[in-house]
Symmetry: C2
Subunit: 171 residues, 2 copies
Amino acid sequence: MQSLQEKASAWSGVDAADAFAIDETNLFQKLGLQTFINLSTHFYTRVYDDEEEWFRSIFANSKKEEAIQNQYEFFVQRMGGPPLYSQRRGHPALIGRHRPFPVTHQAAERWLHHMEKALESTPDIDADSKVKMMNFFRHTAYFLVAGDELKNKKQEPSCKCKHGGCKSAAP
Amino acid sequence: MQSLQEKASAWSGVDAADAFAIDETNLFQKLGLQTFINLSTHFYTRVYDDEEEWFRSIFANSKKEEAIQNQYEFFVQRMGGPPLYSQRRGHPALIGRHRPFPVTHQAAERWLHHMEKALESTPDIDADSKVKMMNFFRHTAYFLVAGDELKNKKQEPSCKCKHGGCKSAAP
């Protein structure tokens, strides 16, 4: 059985070594807090205005300002900065926290499309950092697609049948 | 609705600030790789020999050596060292990866009991680091209990009834 990491690499086309090349330099020290805030603001401004309603609707129950803060605090923490995210919200728990959302291949590609455009709109991020970050994002997006599949596996039956559970032959 | 972080703090009795005090000093630099290997070896030696079968059986499908490596690589990565865990296995995704296991309050307490004993068996960890680590472990254990509850929420019915789904009135 393929691991989450193997699926993420196979589906994204990004090796783990390239995905985690973000750890070779301290991107937070290089780019600074404001750059991460700008990136996430550009990203979610696109997402909340997305002409593709199926994608925009995934975020309908979240406030844009909170989505921005959650994202840049996670990026800051993961890319060498202070653990802003965990201090406020606990472990990133990426798969667990994406559980309510349909993280499909299609949704991953739409997310990555907006992130690529957001990176282009953030001139303070140099070309080398952009490549590293995009590899990390691409690999992570498909890691979450792989995580999303866990929802459909090994579920306890949640059947509400009056005859008491559908493991046995149905009436 | 309480957040994962709020539940973790309420149930563990450890504030987020105390749980993430592990980030105030670089514990990896202070303690070194071998100390983390020793800690996880002591921990899993206890777990795999646990006289309480219900707890020991949770780990029955995992190899002890792999469990040790997974754990110390995560600790090293989270406590200031190189990202050994992510390079090999991807994001920690603590809730997602604990999904197959019954992370109950009782299991959390048994895990913490063994970890407290494992810390006592690892003399290279100074008293201040022990307190910080135990607060982190206690808060994290209950964060995962809170994460475990997500499994029982908002599930799609996985009913196998021949009459085609049990959302409607049962026959």
